[in-house]
Symmetry: C2
């Protein structure tokens, strides 16, 4: 069994990008979205054709985290696909929803591609969005081997690298490497409100890089962060404490805490730096 | 009068890059550094020849902020150049040092190119480091018109855009657009110490961008930050307060403060985003 026909539910940035990547590999792709214009645009971009309710090998749910469980239950009830996965950036919540709604967990592999852009919607989609990126898969004890195999194939067709991880561990990890950094970027960008035009004219590439992701949709990010609230809050508290301590060090002239923070920053950055990049 | 011969004092990243830019425009460049190996490397890279004590049109002091006043006083005593400028990323302190040491302020134009890299030293230098970047000039009431003209020529030869601004206004501005963002990037990078290898494997381009500048030299940055301590501390306190409020909002589920921060972040980021980039 391999993926010959797929259904993408939710033709936003991630769903349409996955559809384009699958189309590029010759997979037949059906598209569905509550927003008819989004489906029409994805179709025009070559992402596939409108879904007519037919059965498929794999259904990819690219809907907001709080809607994953509900949509999964509906599709499974209709027997639409043999295997289901989603792309929500938090995993414990959607899995709990799926359990609560009585979904079949053998055919569902919770997933999360670590890829995105500041822009959203199908018009921002790119077939290469997932190239070389990590794609987390969070199977539970009941996940079927066939389901895992098909979803691994999806990840591979999209050019990404599958990383298998428990749902709770995933949510803690993305709080650290994605969600809290987004809020930190927002806070730095928000501080610019106090700058006059001369200050803004002195902004360089460093600041642009630090704040780039802060351009993301507030509504989308509020939902993502709320879905991973405690883990994100823990990281934010640590970052806030480090910044407050740095301010105190600067005011007192006793710079040990500041120097220590700068050194820990170098070490932390080195952990994620790509050699030669 | 124009720049036919220049002296670059301090052949680190910025000094050597300026020397390379000037050489590319046919200016004769002399190089000086207390580190003989740094001068030798800059020379090998084509940045100019070793300074033999001769007189020049313009001397560019590319030394750490706390050494600017001292070096300026020495060079002016020897009558080395007609015009002097520096590249320190804080301005009020070096200017106060220069006044205290009895420097001639008519021939000195305090300057600061808004350009840098995470790597330091002459081997990281590039002639195009300043291309299209802002280069702040902070003339005082006594700065001579000829000095300003020659330093504007330097900025132009390096491909940068001169931005004239008062020293105190400059220091507040760079606290906002450069110094505090550096500490925030360090704090996010430092938080990664708590992540296991799986968490680190989920890091994407967004996190890499947010934390890129945190790789900068802790010693260099400690000096820069200490030279602009109060202005940086004020921005850091605001950012820390926003992050702590976001954590509180996430824990309580009353998300208004969080949504407001995300919206302010979008607005702040828009102020520095380059259209079409």
């Amino acid at each position: 069994m391999s993926i010959e026909k797929a259904l993408v539910v939710g033709t936003g940035l991630v769903g349409t990008s996955a559809a384009l990547a699958l189309r590029a590999k010759g997979v037949e792709v059906c598209l569905s979205d509550i927003d008819e214009q989004a489906v029409a645009l994805a179709r025009e971009l070559g992402a596939g054709r409108e879904w007519s309710g037919e059965e498929v090998d794999l259904a990819l749910l690219a809907v907001p985290p709080h809607l994953v469980g509900e949509r999964l239950a509906e599709l499974q009830k209709q027997g639409v696909a043999r295997v289901y996965t989603d792309v929500a950036s938090v995993k414990a919540g959607p899995i709990a929803d799926a359990e609560r709604l009585g979904c079949d967990l053998t055919s569902y592999v919770p997933g999360h591609p670590l890829a995105g852009r500041e822009r959203s919607g199908p018009s921002a989609a790119r077939a290469e969005l997932f190239d070389g990126r990590a794609w987390a898969l969070c199977p539970g004890p009941g996940t079927g081997a066939d389901a895992m195999r098909l979803v691994r194939e999806l990840v591979s067709l999209c050019g990404a690298k599958a990383v298998t991880v428990g749902a709770d561990e995933h949510d803690s990890a993305v709080a650290l490497v994605s969600h809290a950094p987004h809020v930190a970027a927002s806070a730095v960008a928000a501080s610019l409100a106090s700058g006059d035009d001369v200050a803004i004219s002195l902004a360089g590439q460093g600041l642009r890089d630090v704040t780039r992701i802060a351009a993301g949709s507030p509504l989308l990010w509020q939902r993502i962060l709320a879905g991973n609230a405690v883990a994100v809050a823990e990281v934010l508290d640590r970052v806030a404490a480090d910044l407050a301590a740095a301010a105190t060090a600067l005011r007192s002239g006793e710079l040990d805490d500041l120097t220590d923070l700068l050194r820990r920053g170098v070490d932390g950055q080195a952990r994620i730096s790509v050699p030669g990049a």
